[in-house]
């Protein structure tokens, strides 16, 4: 069946961009403040390494807050759950790519101006260029950095979306069970893996694999995003669409 994606994408894209620009404005303000610290007040070397992670947190929050209202609005506007879900996801991917590209441009420009007094690095440099943090990236390096940031943000978005749909569909009792079980699992599983030698070896080998190439990490993040996206869709495909408020 043909999906009426265009209006969903237009609506969602506007919403994401409206949410993203304040985040980016704050990042620009931090960069300007870093410049001020380094140059005006003679503060010496300044480093900024948090853009990718900050953007991931921002996208995680978008994943938590955006999909449910979008689904409700689409139900009111004669669009199916599937189209609403796909349109929302495509918009989120586009937003991730725009934020990754904008960040790369911002920090490339900042590096040119800052010279050796300031260090700007992102997830790609930290993981794959650790010994050359102060150097300018090649064109290929920039492309990899953009793609890696996009994949990280997308995985964070899909994780947020999964949590919002999970807690939407669960009953109150199961919400409490999930709220207790998730942090417990996050604590117990790594500890269990660490104590079990074969598992620890396998985990170490897997981490080495991810660390060996940015493409491996990107592939892993895309798989994580896809898995959470599929589970999220399964959670909402038969959900009753109801209003959060009575008005």
């Amino acid at each position: 069946m043909k999906m009426n994606l265009k209006p969903v994408f237009r609506y969602e894209m506007r919403d994401y961009l409206m949410g993203s620009w304040p985040f980016f404005a704050v990042i620009v303000a931090i960069v300007i403040a870093s410049f001020a610290g380094a140059f005006l007040f003679n503060g010496g070397e300044v480093s900024f390494m948090g853009y990718g992670m900050a953007a991931c947190i921002c996208l995680f929050v978008f994943g938590v807050v955006e999909p449910r209202p979008a689904l409700r609005l689409c139900a009111q506007m004669g669009v199916s759950r599937r189209t609403a879900f796909v349109g929302n996801l495509i918009s989120a991917v586009a937003d991730c790519a725009i934020l990754a590209l904008a960040g790369e441009i911002l920090f490339t420009i900042a590096k040119v101006f800052a010279g050796s007094r300031m260090a700007f690095s992102d997830i790609y440099q930290l993981f794959y260029q650790n010994e050359h943090l102060m150097e300018q990236l090649s064109i290929g390096g920039h492309v990899l950095s953009i793609l890696l940031n996009t994949a990280c943000m997308l995985a964070a978005y899909c994780l947020g979306m999964f949590f919002t749909f999970l807690f939407w569909r669960l009953s109150k009792v199961w919400c409490v069970v999930a709220a207790v079980a998730i942090p417990l699992t996050l604590n117990i599983v790594p500890a269990a893996v660490y104590r079990c030698v074969p598992l620890a070896r396998a985990a170490r080998a897997f981490i080495d694999l991810l660390a060996s190439s940015a493409w491996n990490l990107m592939g892993f993040l895309v798989i994580v995003a896809a898995v959470f996206a599929v589970i999220s869709y399964l959670l909402v495909r038969k959900a009753n669409i109801k209003a959060p408020t009575s008005k």
Binding site: M1, Y11, A75, G78, V79, R81, N240, T245, S246, K247
Partner: protein, 285 residues
């Protein structure tokens, strides 16, 4: 061109909200969907518009299954009791959004109607009073120009003047641009003159599904001295009766036959009385 509801059942845990409901909503007709609280009216409308999934059965819009079908869903608009718009959305932005999703949305008409009702376009939807929230949704419904339009308790919280204005605008809209309209309401007397076809639903089952005229022709009210009324109605299917002092009024199913005894008064039953009589009869079963 029609909506076919085929054998739709909806179960919520132990509660059977709809029990094998089958209906056809034909094009360019105004339907009244009547029923007590909890009868399944809102559930039925939610299933037709795919906001809820049926446990069994399906809904076809112009021959296409509505479930997950944007082409079919785009032909429907439900003015419901609930607000499905985002919390921070303003009325103006909601109109922009409706224009994006519904190509036939009449923006000029929506704004003109908002002015008639005194609806502030700059206000957030969630900041509107109950009445104005209803008005906002009614304006959207009147402006989308879809072939099928559903109103679920459309005049909730509206004052008499605004209710009257809404009914007038609805009739005008229908005259200019005929479409299938389904009105689900408890204010039966107010819509009785509008609806061409009546569907009465009770505990998830369709009790009556007839043209309103036919439904009304099939019942009458007789009143007068109790003994004379009893004699006249003897052997007939009495829906309900009430006695006050020595006077009795009875709602009778069927067509009055034979000569009317002296002292009795015969009148046509109105839709609201018919509905109440029917519900009371069902209560006694």
């Amino acid at each position: 061109m029609s909506i076919e509801i085929r054998n739709v059942t909806k179960q919520f845990g132990d509660t059977l909200a709809l029990d094998h409901v089958s209906l056809t909503l034909e094009e360019n007709k105004i339907y009244g969907l009547l029923g007590n609280n909890g009868a399944g009216k809102s559930t039925l409308l939610s299933i037709i518009t795919d906001r809820q999934k049926a446990t069994e059965g399906c809904v076809l819009v112009d021959g296409e299954n509505v479930s997950g079908n944007d082409a079919a869903l785009g032909k429907l608009f439900l003015v419901g009791e609930q607000n499905l718009f985002p919390d921070d959305m303003k009325v103006k932005r909601a109109f922009d959004t409706a224009q994006m999703f519904y190509p036939n949305f009449d923006r000029a008409y929506a704004e003109a109607t908002a002015e008639k009702f005194g609806l502030n376009l700059k206000k957030k939807i969630t900041a509107l009073s109950t009445g104005y929230a209803s008005i906002f949704r009614l304006i959207l419904g009147l402006s989308v120009n879809t072939p099928y339009l559903f109103f679920d308790e459309p005049v909730l919280g509206l004052d008499a003047q605004h209710r009257d204005l809404f009914y007038r605008l609805l009739v005008e809209k229908y005259a200019e641009n005929p479409c299938t309209i389904v009105i689900s309401t408890h204010l039966i007397a107010e819509v009785a003159n509008l609806i061409e076809h009546t569907i009465i639903i009770r505990t998830g089952r369709i009790l009556k599904n007839l043209p309103t005229e036919e439904l009304m022709a099939d019942a009458f009210t007789v009143s007068g001295p109790a003994a004379t009324v009893d004699a006249f109605t003897s052997g007939r299917h009495i829906l309900t009766s009430s006695t006050l002092g020595g006077l009795k009024t009875a709602c009778v199913q069927g067509v009055p036959e034979g000569e009317l005894p002296v002292g009795l008064e015969l009148s046509k039953i109105n839709l609201q009385d018919y509905f109440i009589s029917m519900m009371e009869e069902e209560d006694q079963k």
